[in-house]
Structures are given as structure tokens and as C-alpha cells.
């Protein structure tokens, strides 16, 4: 089919009203034709709004539970490598099954990265020993920063990889958030290739660790929205 004919199919496709074979042809076409792709995307923004013309209905609670259960058993498709240098880490962690073995792998990996980062030998040794300790729990960070929270009893550490520098006069600040949802300052730190930050306070009671960017010296409560966080289940 010619570009012109395919173009005519766009409005119907935006409504999911094409027969399967035509829909397939158009989908293939928009991969290479930028004009048609843009037209289709624009019309989709319009047709998606039609969804709001139906009265919203609260779905049954069992549906929410079923969906969240199903999600707990599957992993999303991998993020393309460029977007996630630490994907291997997250992938390993998401399984979170073989605690010691996983920690060992991460330990070795981070150990290598730390060597690059000119961290002190003692700090490396301490980190690797805490990572290889089977009682250490590892939770990857979600958000704009890459890294993980390590917790062993009440003691918590933040490991950050490829941490961008903050703007001048600003600092990173970590927060422990407990059941009362009040963020408690857990220490400030600067950017740098690899950072290991010991969290101040009792990490055992925290439900969430969050990181914000604050004025130099830190704040007593967050003044910006977190750039990364980890839920300590």
C-alpha cells in the first residue's frame, strides 16, 4: 500500500477501528514514516480523551489485588542497556532470592568500581564485608540516581554509583522516613563517581530512604522533591 493510502487509515486506526491486516500494515509503516507517526500520535491524544467520556468506575478491590499479585511474579522487560548501567544489579536484586550469592556478586562489582574511584582501602573492605554478609538486605534506589540501600539491623548505608555533582551551594541529603511519614535527616553528601554514605539514625525503623537536593549544609526537613528513593519492605 502506498503512503497516501496508509495515511488515510490513520484516523480509523486512532480509534482502533481498522481490521487487523490494515492495522498491521499501518503499524509497520509508522515505524519508518515520521509524518504518519506524528499524525497518528496526535490523533491518539484526542481519542484517548474519549476514555474520559465514560463514567469512571471504582474497580473492585479484588482486581487491584490480582493485578498487584501478578506483577509480583513477573519482571518488566529489560530496559535498553544505555538507560540502565545498573540493570544487572537491579535484575539480580529484583529476584532477591539468593541473598548471600547476590550480595557477593554486587560486592565484587562494586569493589571493582570503588577501585576506580580511589576510595580508601578500608572503606572498600568494610563495604565488601557488609555486602557479603548474608544478613545484609539490599534495596535498589528508584528515581534519578543509581545505587542501593544496604541495611543490616539498625545500620544503613547508601551506595551510589556515578552520582552527578550538585549545583554550587547545594548538597545531597538522605532522609529516613518511618511509619509516621516524617522525614528525619540522615546525613548530607556530595556528588562523585562512587559514594558510600553511612546513614545516620536507626535504619531498622525506616520504611523509606529518600534523597533530596538541599542548600549546602543540609536542611532539617526536605525543601525539594526526592531525586531518588527506596522502599525498605
Amino acid at each position: 500500500m502506498e503512503h497516501r493510502e496508509l495515511q488515510d487509515l490513520i484516523p480509523a486506526h486512532a480509534l482502533d477501528a481498522l481490521d487487523a491486516d490494515d492495522a498491521l500494515l499501518l503499524e509497520e509503516h509508522v515505524v519508518t514514516c515520521e509524518t504518519c507517526r506524528r499524525d497518528l500520535d496526535e490523533l491518539r491524544e484526542t481519542t484517548a480523551l474519549l476514555a474520559f467520556a465514560t463514567p469512571p468506575i471504582e474497580p473492585p478491590a479484588h482486581l487491584r489485588a490480582a493485578i498487584l499479585d501478578a506483577v509480583a511474579e513477573t519482571l518488566p522487560e529489560a530496559i535498553p542497556p544505555r538507560r540502565a548501567r545498573l540493570a544487572f544489579l537491579r535484575g539480580a536484586l529484583a529476584g532477591a532470592l539468593a541473598g548471600a550469592a547476590v550480595a557477593l556478586v554486587i560486592g565484587i562489582t562494586l569493589h571493582n568500581q570503588l577501585s576506580d574511584a580511589r576510595s580508601s582501602r578500608d572503606a572498600q573492605a568494610a563495604l565488601v564485608s557488609s555486602l557479603t554478609d548474608p544478613t545484609t538486605r539490599v534495596q535498589p534506589l528508584a528515581g534519578k540516581l543509581e545505587g542501593a540501600v544496604l541495611r543490616n539491623g539498625g545500620s544503613g548505608k547508601l551506595v551510589l554509583v556515578n552520582l552527578p555533582s550538585t549545583a554550587k551551594g547545594r548538597t545531597y541529603e538522605a532522609w529516613l522516613i518511618g511509619a509516621n511519614k516524617v522525614p528525619v535527616p540522615a546525613g548530607t553528601f556530595a556528588g562523585g563517581k562512587t559514594q558510600v554514605v553511612a546513614l545516620r539514625g536507626n535504619a531498622d525503623k525506616a520504611k523509606t530512604v529518600a534523597i533530596t537536593v538541599e542548600p549546602a549544609g543540609g536542611s532539617s526537613k526536605p525543601t525539594t522533591t526526592p531525586v531518588a528513593s527506596a522502599s525498605l519492605a
Binding site: D16, L43, L50, F52, P55, T74, I79, G143, K207
Partner: protein
């Protein structure tokens, strides 16, 4: 736990979901589950099938979040497009639909939950207004295809019109609908479209 994510925009949530963050996913469900379920119910007219559609749609969102391309669509558009697509598939598969009454939106589900969310309520009212402002033949092609799952060739048969007429009518209808929506300032922009609008 999901409270942690209230401050995050939709694109922020999708990015977290792509990394396997279940709390972010739960928050996304809580934002759009009602709309998705309302839509799926409207199209399938069956509670069981609507649940199936919503479950499949959200699991697709979970699995394919890494493929989401923010340059092509807003997260809500993407999610609702997936939901719509699955609902239409089910309707065609099950040969459902087609109670001869084509009143479209008037025979709304009886379990209608009066929208508690102000934005959702306003959006609902305005999109219906925009749709109502279209000339009848144009509204008809939109309603029959989007809400009843008719394909273009089925529409041509049902309305006794040549396929070419249906095609061009669909085109005009969507162009006008878009103008009507724009006139009312309606977009998929919502309280969660950008950062920092919720604290």
C-alpha cells in the same frame, strides 16, 4: 508505602515502573484504574470481561514500560490506548455488543461512582460536552467505533454507506472533536502530568 510516589509525575512513575518498581506501579493503577475500568466496562458491558481487560492492560503496562516513548505519547494516553485496544479485541472476539440501541453514552453503567476526584469529574463532563457538540453523523461514527468496537467496514455495512464515505467522515469527525476539545482547553494534561504540582 505508595504515598512516597504521590509527588511523582506520570512520566516519573513510568520510568520507575520500567525499572520494576511495584509501588510506582500501584500508584499508576490508583490514578488511572477508575478510568480504565469505566472504559472497559463501557465497551464490554460485562463486569467479568472488563476486569479481564483492565488486568491485561495493566500487566502490559508493567511488562512494556521500558518501551514507553515519552516523545510519542503521554503515559495516560499510552495506558488508555492499550486498555481501549484490549477492550475492542475482546468485543470482537466475543462477538458481543450491538444491542441495537446506539444511544452510546446515555446507557452508562449503573454502578457509576460519582467521581470524587474533581479533575476526573470535570474532564468527564467536558469531554462529553465536546462530543455532544459534534453533528450527529460524526458523533455516530466516533461512538460506534470507539465505544462499540465497530471496524470501518462493519460501519459501512451498518450505516449503508460506501467505505470511502465512512473513512472521510471518521477523519472529519476526529478533526472536529479535536477542535472542540481544544476550545475547552482539554488535554490529557492532568494534575500528575508534570512534577511539583503535587506535594
Amino acid at each position: 508505602m505508595a504515598d512516597t510516589f504521590l509527588h511523582l509525575s506520570d512520566p516519573g512513575l513510568i520510568a520507575l515502573v520500567a525499572r520494576g518498581d511495584r509501588d510506582a506501579f500501584a500508584e499508576l493503577y490508583d490514578r488511572y484504574g477508575k478510568t480504565a475500568y469505566g472504559l472497559a466496562y463501557r465497551i464490554t458491558r460485562d463486569v467479568q470481561l472488563a476486569e479481564e481487560v483492565v488486568q491485561e492492560a495493566f500487566l502490559t503496562v508493567w511488562r512494556q514500560a521500558s518501551r514507553f516513548d515519552g516523545r510519542r505519547a503521554k503515559p495516560s494516553t499510552w495506558l488508555l490506548t492499550i486498555t481501549h485496544h484490549k477492550a475492542v479485541d475482546v468485543v470482537r472476539r466475543e462477538q458481543l455488543r450491538r444491542t441495537e440501541s446506539a444511544e452510546g453514552l446515555e446507557d452508562a453503567p449503573d454502578s457509576t461512582d460519582v467521581p470524587r476526584d474533581a479533575w476526573l469529574g470535570l474532564q468527564h463532563a467536558q469531554v462529553r460536552e465536546a462530543l455532544a457538540a459534534l453533528p450527529d453523523p460524526q458523533r455516530e461514527v466516533i461512538e460506534l467505533s470507539y465505544f462499540e468496537g465497530y471496524s470501518q467496514s462493519e460501519l459501512a455495512r451498518r450505516l449503508g454507506q460506501p467505505l470511502g464515505t465512512i473513512k472521510s467522515r471518521t477523519h472529519t469527525a476526529l478533526t472536529r472533536l479535536r477542535a472542540q476539545l481544544e476550545e475547552r482547553g482539554i488535554t490529557t494534561e492532568n494534575p500528575w502530568s508534570t512534577e511539583s504540582s503535587r506535594t
